[in-house]
Structure formats: C-alpha cells, structure tokens
C-alpha cells in the first residue's frame, strides 16, 4: 500500500526558533493517524507545513506519491483539505454559508456547484435552511459542520484536522467526532488529526505519534496506548494526566 503522506526529516524554522526538529512519519492510504502533544510541541506546525502555511527549512513531504516543492499547485488543494480548531475564527463573518461553500468551487472551476453545496450540507447534517445564514447565526457545533462541509466539497482524499473539537462542548464534540468518522468511512478518507486529548486520538485513530518540543517522542498504535504498552516516560505522564485528578493523601 502506498503512503498517503510521507514526511522525512521535516524542519520548520521561524526566525531562529526551530519549531520542528527533523520529524518523519508515514500515513498510509485510508488510515487515520493522530498527533498528540502539549502546546508548543509542533503538532499544528506539522499540519501547516504540509499545507504550505509554515516555512519548511529542510526535509521532504510527499503526498500521494508526489513530492511537494516550495509551492503547492491547485491539484494539491483538491486532494488535501484542512479543518481548523476554532470555528469562530475560521469562517468569514460577513459571508453566508452558501458564499463560503462557493469559494472553493470557484477557485477550482467546478461547475455543478448547486448540487455539490446541497449535498455537502446534507452530508454534515445541516439542512437547506442553513444555506443562506451567516456564521454568527450558528452555534459552535453547526459552524464546525460548515467547516467540514467546506473541506469535503472538493472531494479530497486527505483531511488534516487541527483540534477540530477542542472549542466545542462535550456533547457537541461527540456529534462532530461521529460525523468525522462517518464521512471518513463513506469517502475512504485519510485523516491526519491533531489533538492534545489522548482519549480523542485513541477513539479516532489507528496509529499515533506523541510529540514534544518539535520532536517525535514515540509512535504507537491505539491498542498499544490503550494497553499502556508505552516506552517513554513522557507518554506515560500524558496517560496519567488524562485519567483525571487523583488525590494523594
């Protein structure tokens, strides 16, 4: 099986700060892969480097067998789409949902927009009634659904998810996670998902990489993590922390 995303020795440098220090990973086609770490560990930077939003200093990124150069062409963005953390910040406040969904179609010159918009909204569980509303008229969960619809409308094969539920309430989080699993199954998508929450990653992903300070700590399968079969202390600490507060008395 070919790799959907293959990254070799990726370095990202902001001025003099090395945000990623030679990270390598491989995401298989159709796989759901998780990145876990605390703030500043470089997990979001990794996603941004793939999409060309962060300055890559060295290393290679290969998507669907094609090595990426300095710039990404249009075809890349049809294959790879991203859903951001904060649905309050990632949707244009003065555009209707319809206008938001039309933009990617216009950029890529896709003709059957009408049908695609209806289908995309339907797919994320928003009826036609939402089509001409503005982002501020929607709840957080509904906004994230719009963001997912916008990512899906180009029918990509890879979805990059940057903390897609961390701004949402627990019950809404469950709905959005279920939706993501459903669209992944239906479209056979590859997920690369970032989260600080180990429970979400083990729920959504088959394999994961733990990151700290711009470096990979270790790579695990979800079942290894569930069975606490981890080799690094850092991962063990994260696992303990995710179990909640324990009073030592």
């Amino acid at each position: 099986m070919t790799a959907a995303i293959a990254i070799e020795g990726l370095e990202v440098v902001f001025d003099r700060f090395r945000a990623l220090k030679g990270v390598s990973l491989e995401v298989r086609e159709g796989e759901s892969y998780g990145l876990v770490g605390e703030s500043g560990s470089g997990k979001s930077t990794l996603l941004k480097a793939i999409t060309g939003l962060a300055p890559v200093a060295s290393g290679t990124v290969t998507v669907n067998g094609k090595p990426l150069g300095k710039t990404r062409d249009k075809a890349f963005y049809r294959e790879v789409q991203m859903v951001f953390q904060d649905p309050y910040g990632s949707l244009h406040p003065r555009q209707t949902v319809d206008r938001l969904l039309q933009e990617p179609l216009a950029i890529h010159g896709i003709a059957d927009g009408e049908k695609r918009i209806e289908r995309a909204l339907d797919e994320v569980g928003l009826g036609k009634g939402f089509r001409f509303r503005y982002a501020h008229q929607l709840s957080g969960g509904q906004r994230q659904r719009v963001a997912i619809a916008r990512a899906l409308i180009l029918e990509p094969s890879i979805l990059l998810l940057d903390e897609p539920t961390s701004a949402l309430d627990a019950s809404v989080q469950a709905e959005v996670l279920n939706l993501l699993e459903e669209v992944r199954r239906r479209h056979k998508l590859t997920f690369l998902m970032v989260s600080h929450d180990l429970a979400i990653i083990t729920h959504m992903c088959e394999r994961l990489m733990v990151m700290q300070n711009g470096e990979a700590v270790e790579t695990l399968t979800a079942s290894q993590l569930i069975g606490h079969r981890v080799s690094e202390d850092y991962t063990r600490n994260l696992l303990r922390a995710s179990e909640g507060f324990v009073r030592t008395a």
Binding site: Q173, E181, A199, T202, N237, L238, S242, F245
Partner: protein
C-alpha cells in the same frame, strides 16, 4: 447544612437584550460548607454567571435577584458596594480561566500580589513583599524572587495561573471561586495546578466552588457536584456517587466523552429534551 458558608436560594440573573429579557440563571439554589463543590455545565448553562453573581461581578446592565444570597450570614444583595468591595478579594476570591487575560499585563506579578494584599490589610511594603514571596513559594514557584519581578507575558500559562492563585490566596479568603481555572492549561500542567489548589484549600479550610465544563475532572476533584443546564440546577450529587446519576443530562454528559480503553463507535450523543430546560 447548619454552618453554611454560602447559602443561595432562587438566584436569578437577568440580562436585557434587544429581543427582551434573557434569564441566564433561573432560580439556582444550593448551599456550601467548607467543602469542594463543583458546578458543571456546558456553555450557556449559567455556571459562570452564578459564580460571578456570588462574587458581585455581574455586568451592570444585568439584574441579580434571589430569595437569599448570603455569605457567612451577610446578605450580599443588601449591603453597600463599599462593603461588597471589602469582601471581594478579601474573604471571597476568584480565579479566572486564562492568566493571559486575568493578570494585568503592565504590572509585575509581585506588584499585583502586593496590591491585593495592601488593599485589604494595613501592612508595610517590606512585610507585604515578604508575604507575597512566601505565597509564591507556597504555590510551588521555585524562584519566587525572580518571578516577583517578572511581567505576566514573561511566564508560562501554568506559572501565570499559580501566580493568580497566590494573589487570590494571600488575603486568606474563606470562599474561593475557581472559574475554569485549568482549562487554558496543558493536561500535565493542569494536574500540577490542581494539586496545589487542592493542598491549599485543604490546609486553609476554605470553601471552594469549582466551575468547569469537564464533568470527569470535577468529579475527581470535588466532594459534591451541581449539574446545571439552561440556567437551572438539574442535579446535585456526591462526586463519589456520580456513576448513579439520575438525570439523563448528567448521564449523557458522562457518557458522550471518548475514554481510553472503551471502544464505542459511534459515541453516544445527548438527546436534549425540552423538558430539561422547563
């Protein structure tokens, strides 16, 4: 409860909006002794407005009413703003969510702590400094003298939140309201901060109201949990008995979070019933 530190009966907070009055808190009642009480709810449930009403930080356009809102026998709704000020930060303290916003960015951490202390107590500058340093030590800041002279942007989130806790504890409050004190922090730092808070609350015999959206975290930290939905209390339960929660909202909230080692696809979702909000 006989020696209730805080007694709330039918608390209401009403906001005027363009489309009429909106009740953010609709008749909340509970009492608090020297214990750790968690208030849990999702956004818009009124949990923060409940905390702010106790503290007296409700925005001026909103109206607070209650049959009873008493702290240590003092009726908080009838006392003067001046008396209220002397309670606030002195006998009742509040920790806010994000130290990036709740600390004054143009004042060093030490000066902010000293300011709080000297507002409420007559102490010399030198003594205030000593006590601030001791307090920073108590929240496990390794080099208090250095942190004393730092500005909030020069410290990490976990350190900032510890400084915030130090500032709130320096007057020796009897009631502490913590509004999402660790939500802006990384998981591992979260536990460090909770440990410090837990120790200090226990040592000083304070009452603690811990407001959070995270039911599991709250239930592992608090003695008792009040679950709020749409401005009302739907359930009050001992944290140890949370597994036997009766209300479908509480159960749904516990259930819908992914847990390590429990495979459930798809996750159970909350089926919100209109009668919960009635």
């Amino acid at each position: 409860m006989s020696d209730a530190l805080l007694d709330i009966d039918e608390l209401r907070v009403t906001f005027p909006t363009r489309t009429g009055l909106v009740q953010a808190v609709r008749g909340v009642s509970f009492s608090l002794g020297r214990e750790r009480l968690g208030i849990v709810g999702e956004s818009g449930s009124g949990k923060s407005q409940t905390g702010r009403a106790i503290m007296g930080l409700t925005p001026p356009q909103a109206e607070v009413s209650a049959k009873k809102l008493a702290f240590d026998g003092i009726d908080l709704l009838s006392i003067s703003p001046r008396q209220r000020r002397s309670l606030r930060g002195n006998r009742i303290a509040m920790i806010l969510q994000d130290p990036k916003y709740s600390l004054d960015p143009v004042m060093t951490i030490g000066r902010q702590i000293v300011e709080t202390l000297r507002t409420h107590e007559k102490v010399s500058k030198a003594e205030a400094r000593e006590r601030a340093l001791a307090m920073l030590q108590a929240v496990q800041i390794r080099d208090p003298a250095r942190v004393f002279d730092l500005y909030p942007h020069e410290v990490s989130g976990g350190m900032g939140q510890r400084a915030m806790i130090a500032m709130m504890l320096i007057t020796g409050p009897e009631l502490m309201i913590a509004d999402e004190p660790t939500s802006a922090l990384d998981v591992t730092v979260q536990l460090d901060v909770l440990k410090i808070l837990d120790k200090l609350v226990a040592e000083r015999g304070m009452g603690l109201i811990f407001i959070s959206h995270d039911l599991r975290l709250v239930s592992s930290f608090c003695d008792r949990v009040v679950v709020m939905y749409a401005g009302k209390v739907v359930e009050q339960i001992k944290a140890s008995e949370l597994r036997d929660a009766q209300h479908p909202y509480t159960r749904g909230l516990l259930n819908c979070m992914p847990r390590i080692g429990f495979e459930r696809h798809p996750l159970p979702v909350l089926d919100r019933k209109p009668e919960w909000a009635a």
